[in-house]
Symmetry: C2
Subunit: 219 residues, 2 copies
């Protein structure tokens, strides 16, 4: 008699960008039932949420929620504050102006709530080496500290050790992520990949470096 195989539920933070799309491709490869969470937090790039829906559907997710939260009320970031220009250049020393206070802490907290409700033991997040050169809450030590928190924060934590926080892109740069996702069949035309385009307004640096044509449908 064949064993019954039921896909393990797992949560992913889904932005609509290429990182989280690539993470979902890894989850799909590994046989998880994907429960995607997106956040409407007053970001300027509302199209992200549109692309999040497209890529979630393409990946065959088990569920996709968009949680409305009011980060904009806190101010202090170019991503939500329309008074500030988004820098055109890439990663700069120090913490970039596009940083949103405690954003990944808040997002992972919601993921933790959903993990508990769904009895999911795994939470995925698409942070990578390019991010954590600048954003405090993308660094490996942050991911590790959140996992320790999760172990004592929930009912699951009482019974065992709480959900694992997976950051499978942690040691990859953009072009490596794009190469990985391309091998896994990610359709990057369904993602919103860049905050800003190159000088010609045609492509992300990551695609140029990966030697792969940028399929993002820029308007």
């Amino acid at each position: 008699m064949p064993e019954e195989t039921i896909a393990k539920p797992a949560i992913v933070l889904l932005s609509g960008g290429l990182d989280s799309a690539t993470v979902m491709a890894l989850m799909r490869r590994d046989g998880y039932a994907i429960h995607a969470m997106s956040f409407d937090y007053g970001q300027r790039h509302k199209q992200e949420l549109h692309y999040a829906g497209l890529i979630a559907q393409a990946m065959g997710v088990a569920s996709h929620r968009t949680v409305h939260i009011d980060l904009g009320a806190f101010g202090g970031s170019a991503l939500t504050d329309t008074q500030l220009a988004v820098p055109e250049t890439g990663v700069t020393p120090g913490i970039p102006i596009t940083y949103v206070p405690a954003r990944n802490t808040i997002f992972l907290s919601f993921a933790l709530a959903l993990a508990e409700v769904l009895s999911a033991q795994d939470i995925f997040i698409g942070v990578n080496s390019q991010d954590y050169s600048g954003y405090p809450d993308c660094r490996p030590e942050f991911i590790s500290a959140f996992e320790k928190l999760a172990a004592v924060a929930t009912r699951l934590g009482d019974e065992a050790r709480g959900p694992r926080i997976h950051a499978p892109l942690q040691h990859l740069n953009k072009s490596e992520i794009i190469q990985l996702g391309t091998r896994l069949g990610v359709d990057y035309s369904l993602t919103r990949s860049c905050y800003q385009l190159d000088d010609q307004g045609r492509s992300c640096a990551g695609f140029l470096e990966a030697g792969i044509a940028d399929p993002t449908p820029y308007q």
Copy 2:
């Protein structure tokens, strides 16, 4: 020449109940500029938010925000799920049905964002021994794990060690909290203290035990 004294900003999670009112009285005594955060998360007891506003005003806070979040979408708790009856009895073994998944993790995450924006080094929460007998995210090990997370999660964390998470009621029971607050001049008639009343519908057990008349204006 007298030193100029500027009150240090600190964040408090304000529910409208007696615990957070007592915490604010301690903060007031210690000279903090109090920035209160309440959460509209689909709780059944909407009056909590009304009392939160009253007690914040009475304490002379520097600011009071109510953040709207959608915990109800996750289900699984009597506090937000109107299909489930709130238990009439007090603390029972195990995790009570009134537990909301990851609630304090989410609330503290928002407090952390505000702390960063205000450059506040202190966050206060009114968890106490009666709570953490049942709720995983009220226990001392949870508070400690969140403080470690905060140290690596924010800009502040980059510069120093991040904000402290204070839980000054951690080792007090309800009647001790009421006695403390009464000494500090808390007007408990401005709080919403109980989820359920005693048999006569007149009082909280905590006030009975403290030997102090319950001034809560039950409807």
